[in-house]
Symmetry: C2
Subunit: 204 residues, 2 copies
DNA sequence: TCTTTTGCAGAATATTATTCTGTTTTGTTT
DNA sequence: AAACAAAACAGAATAATATTCTGCAAAAGA
């Protein structure tokens, strides 16, 4: 796999070429101007297409937003699962989760930026149920996977509810700051620090 | 101070009554429908006022959003500084920061919810410079305050850039989850866990 | 080749944000 | 208190934007 492409991966083939183009330009606009300030006309202009085509493919603005959002979410998720498959202890799992997250954000900064800013709109929009379902599914799956390990010799903070936040919270917060330019060091530089810190934080 | 009110505090007096009312109803609409889906008409209807009045006070939709956003941000900030004033060590400071954050979110859930979802729009909009400035100011101030302590006997993770993320990341992540209903336990319940965990996480 | 489906274009329409003009209320000065 | 100025407010008019609709073209299947 030379250089994987999230859009090519999700909407493959020649016939979906314009669809991908629209999404790519929409992603650019959303990130550059913000979700609300992005107009259909602006997207149309960057694709050299028609409103008809856009509405044919996505129904409405919310449809474009959601298509992008779920494409990014699924890709990030897939990346996590690949990494996590190799973990053999809770400690390794924590390192995988954090490493995978940081890697993905650094590899796909534009998608990551979009993911952060699009979550709220999508959570309110017509696809809110789909988002909720996925959250629940993912939560359960990851929970089971982590609980499978925790019979080790270390004592872990209770309850389980707060575990995810302890693991991913710092990395997430830092990535946001990095993407917005508030901090300069690449998240990957601090891979080790975030992983070790998280591991320390959740031991009694 | 019996029951402080963010709006009353920021826009005091009889003449600002409608202004406060508009903001209150706008807050409700933004949280209920989402920022983009909230129309001026919807806000107007809930206030029983006119578009003229709304535009007189805020200029445009972005103006309403920003007024709400900075009101919330400043209140949260003020709360933090009050708490932090009593800290006498780095450990105490960390506990103050986290405690203050959790308290504020639980005391003002609607405002907190809004703060999360409005950050991106404001960061893109016409007040982006003002937001950047405040971020820089606050960052410096807090940095100096923390560095004033760190000559203690404990070794702290480097560099400073990642420190804030380690401290506030987990709490922030959990509060978001709580406000969106993904987890049930009140953030205040886990006050101790978040503070202790954060403290462990940033020690060598 | 014929037929059906899908992709696309652009004018027409509907919705929403914003402006503008006039009126009323409030505060200030004399 | 009267006169003036400034701020608050109302609502019609306008502008910007999202969405629909109708028709045509390309592609796929029979």
């Amino acid at each position: 796999m030379n250089k994987y492409n999230i859009l090519e991966n999700r909407f493959p083939g020649r016939r979906a070429a314009l669809k991908r183009e629209i999404l790519e330009q929409a992603l650019y606009c959303f990130n550059e101007l913000g979700v609300e300030a992005t107009t259909i006309d602006a997207i149309k202009a960057r694709c050299d297409t028609s409103v008809g085509a856009i509405y044919h493919h996505f129904g409405n603005k919310e449809g474009i937003l959601s298509a992008l959002f779920f494409a990014a979410l699924d890709d990030q998720r897939q990346h996590l699962e690949q990494e996590l498959a190799g973990a053999n202890s809770l400690r390794e799992a924590v390192f995988c989760i954090i490493g995978s997250y940081l890697d993905w954000v650094v590899a796909n900064p534009e998608w990551a930026r979009f993911l952060y800013q699009a979550r709220s709109p999508v959570a309110k929009g017509p696809f809110q149920e789909e988002l909720k379902d996925r959250n629940i599914q993912n939560y359960r799956k990851l929970k089971d996977q982590l609980l499978g390990f925790s019979k080790g010799d270390v004592k872990i903070v209770q309850p389980f509810e707060i575990l995810f936040s302890l693991i991913i919270g710092p990395s997430e917060n830092y990535c946001r700051a990095w993407l917005s330019g508030r901090v300069k060091g690449s998240p990957q530089e601090y891979r080790g620090e975030f992983a070790e810190s998280a591991w320390r934080s959740l031991q009694w």
